[in-house]
Assembly symmetry: C2
Homo-oligomer: 469 residues x 2
């Protein structure tokens, strides 16, 4: 579809301008005042146009457990999550739709789904999530979550050696599944990319990482992992490698300008330097890091060291939403308490650049996405500046990033196709989705994770916490 | 108005129950399954009923500068704020309406407005804000913000003695204004209370505090102040008193079970004990504390010491919204990173109790408000649990507190009067308010505070920051 947005506010270097924006053949063709009309016309008056943001790390199926997970740190939280994750393909489909809709309506046009795979139905899980995303029309980066060690291996042993059951699937079988997924689903030009995504050092052998590096090189795939989300993982890395996780990942060649790393809370200054040198991207998930008590990622240090940083919501049961503007706000202001010097603080314009161009860089598509630049793909979001939550009028980007915008996304185009119009998703029936989510769930209050009961004492001992009450 | 809400979900000790709730003569008359219908009937199916929350600290007129304030710590931020605060009564009126509406639509039924007074029009300012709140119908606690030292006195001097201009109005004249306001506007039974509200130790003499204590005792008024919001204020207290601010306020008798104190970021363990002993209330404003880099208030320590804690949005230009659910969420999960022991973390049910009963305690109205209890006033909020942002169904309070609820307030009653129905405020025309806010403002990007230019070098020196770039 070709179209022209007229009289719309855009951000310039340090100000705003009112311009027309032409989109031709899914690309931004011109940005200037008073352009000729091409194709359909959209009225941009009192609206702000920004490049689409990236929800650069999430796990869509966690939506089924949002609101109910206990107040636990990651290691116990994961045990509870898996105890109550009765996944089926229909639920995978619905939660991918829900993740896409919430992302879209908060300014996101791309989603990186670090997708939990149903054992034995791995390719079907990927196909199902992909189908949901294609129906909505969001730009899709599916990062099938893989590991080759069992969950208990993810906790430091402390002084007592632990024996863990082997993982149910071999490393080579896992890699074969990923290769198959790439062959079937990896079509970047059609808006769907597959990433290699070993979950992280806590549950992956070097053989798995190395296999992923090979696939990444062979098929030109981005790489995506969790990294040093918790203090426990920092301890584990020392136990496992005798060095930091970053040093180890660098040694085996995993870090690169196509590698994005979720969390990065517990890195040393030397680790930060390695991320900068390898041009790796940090995906900051502030709400999840607070909810799970993981810590405050040293984002201001990353920025000062030249590390690319972008934002993610993380899965909805550690957040517990998929609102990207909320993640951007908290992920920006949270760091003001870590550095008394306000000259280092993230400004709203910098937040927008991190969320758009920062996301594109981390996925190796900065030449095609992430800014309002002639020649780039038209992944665009039009915000209604007459909404109560963005009034009175002051600085539009300040209001958007620092406020609590509600119902402010007027229109969204992805690859030039309009998928939100008049604040409604046009590609799927959201009311029907709502009914399906309602129907497939029930009010719950009391549940006890049997795995947590088994491992909590060990966790408290290893983390030097007093005996449980 | 008498009414009955049928088949509504309420929280019980550690579960939920479906009940009917009868309201007679503005009070909760009965809570039980299958009650007789009295008065109008409301369908509570798939809805959650909670007591109204308290927005226990805000400054309504700051709404005019939300989104545009620079990334500054409090002391510089205040200088910028006052440089660009061209207040008139019409703006006071509109921003009070805006504050009331955003508070209501995020679960708040009471607002504590630490109201900035227009010099020379102090009583008119109070009358105007009061008129706005009464038109909306929200329960109102107006805390006229007073001081008797000039703004520059609020910064520590460091090693160089500073001379400050005297404040433009005498202490006694200020106290007379407050007494006049009490006589005119203080009608707690009609839902409007006046508080004595010296802004804080940074800008108030002991004479002002003592005068406020006398008024508070004579007219049975609550007391409200900022307390130790920044590290600079901690330094200033030592310069001014040779002891901590809390020790000093305790010595002069300001702390009491009717005293609520906004921020409380920089308190010592001994200070915390004093707050507990005096039964003072801490109003936690997490978003403002992050935005201004003030620090993380030690809320878990307060709770363990038995200090009552509730939540506020703070003024909209340090937040930059008036969404109480956002403040409750961040004010709850933020503290998980301050204590590795998750058994101390705030659970969603505790958050709700802090926001409702905690607010009522701090304003000395816990016998009348803050819980769903037969005999208490009907300040009630009904949440629509079929909203997409609260689905799929899990734990309703978990979803409400930890999620990112959007458009979920179905109905609000204050003192038994319905003022939100079908998610719309019924008492004022919100669309008209939106238009007025739009009309009275304009897009702004570049502005420079001349006061900041004067004081920034001194601030950076006193705070041991490197020379400005």
């Amino acid at each position: 579809m070709n179209f022209t947005i007229q009289n719309v506010l855009i951000a310039t270097h340090d100000d705003y301008a009112t311009v027309d924006v032409q989109v031709v053949d899914s690309k931004i063709a011109a940005i200037a005042p008073k352009l000729d009309v091409i194709g359909a016309v959209f009225n941009g008056s009192n609206k702000l146009l920004l490049p689409g943001f990236f929800n650069a790390h999430t796990h869509s199926s966690e939506m089924w457990q949002r609101g109910i997970m206990s107040a636990f740190p990651l290691e116990l939280w994961l045990a509870e999550l898996y105890d109550f994750a009765p996944l089926d393909l229909e639920k995978v489909y619905l939660s991918a739709l829900g993740t896409a809709v919430e992302t879209l309506l908060s300014g996101g046009t791309s989603v990186v789904d670090h997708l939990v795979l149903i054992p034995g139905q791995e390719l079907e899980t990927i196909a199902t999530a992909n189908r949901a995303y294609q129906e909505v029309g969001i730009r899709t980066f599916i990062a099938p979550l893989i590991q080759d060690e069992s969950l208990a291996a993810g906790m430091p042993s402390g002084e007592s050696p632990q024996n863990h059951e082997p993982y149910f699937r071999s490393t080579s079988a896992t890699l074969e599944i990923i290769e198959e997924a790439v062959k079937k689903f990896h079509h970047p030009d059609a808006g769907i990319s597959i990433l290699v995504a070993p979950t992280g050092i806590q549950l992956c052998t070097d053989a798995l990482f190395t296999g992923c590096i090979e696939l990444s090189d062979r098929y030109d795939l981005c790489r995506h992992s969790h990294l040093l989300e918790t203090k426990a993982q920092e301890k584990l890395a020392q136990e496992k490698y005798g060095c930091t996780a970053v040093e180890h990942l660098n040694q085996i060649g995993y870090l690169s300008d196509r590698t994005s790393l979720a969390h990065c809370v517990w890195l040393s200054d030397r680790d930060i330097k390695i991320l900068a040198e390898t041009q790796s991207t940090v995906v900051h998930n502030p709400l999840s890091n607070l909810r799970l008590g993981s810590g405050i990622a040293p984002i201001l240090k990353y920025r000062q060291a030249g590390v690319n940083v972008t934002f993610g919501c993380d899965g909805a049961s550690s957040n517990d939403s998929q609102d990207l503007l909320e993640a951007i706000k908290i992920g920006s202001i949270l760091h003001n308490v870590t550095d008394l010097d306000y000259q280092h603080w993230i400004t709203p314009r910098q937040s927008v650049e991190m969320a758009a161009l920062g996301g594109a860089k981390g996925l190796n598509v900065a030449d095609k996405l992430g800014s309002l630049t002639v020649g780039k793909q038209a992944d665009l979001v039009l915000y209604d500046l007459t909404n109560l939550s963005l009034l009175p009028r002051t600085d539009p980007i300040g209001l958007l990033v620092l406020g609590r915008p509600t119902n402010i996304v007027d229109s969204v185009w992805i690859n030039g196709q309009q998928i939100v119009a008049n604040s409604k998703v046009t590609t799927i029936n959201v009311d029907e989705l709502r009914q399906e989510l309602f129907k497939h769930s029930q009010w719950e209050t009391k549940r006890k994770s049997s795995t947590v009961a088994q491992i909590e004492t060990h966790y408290r001992t290893v983390m030097d916490l007093p005996d449980s009450k």
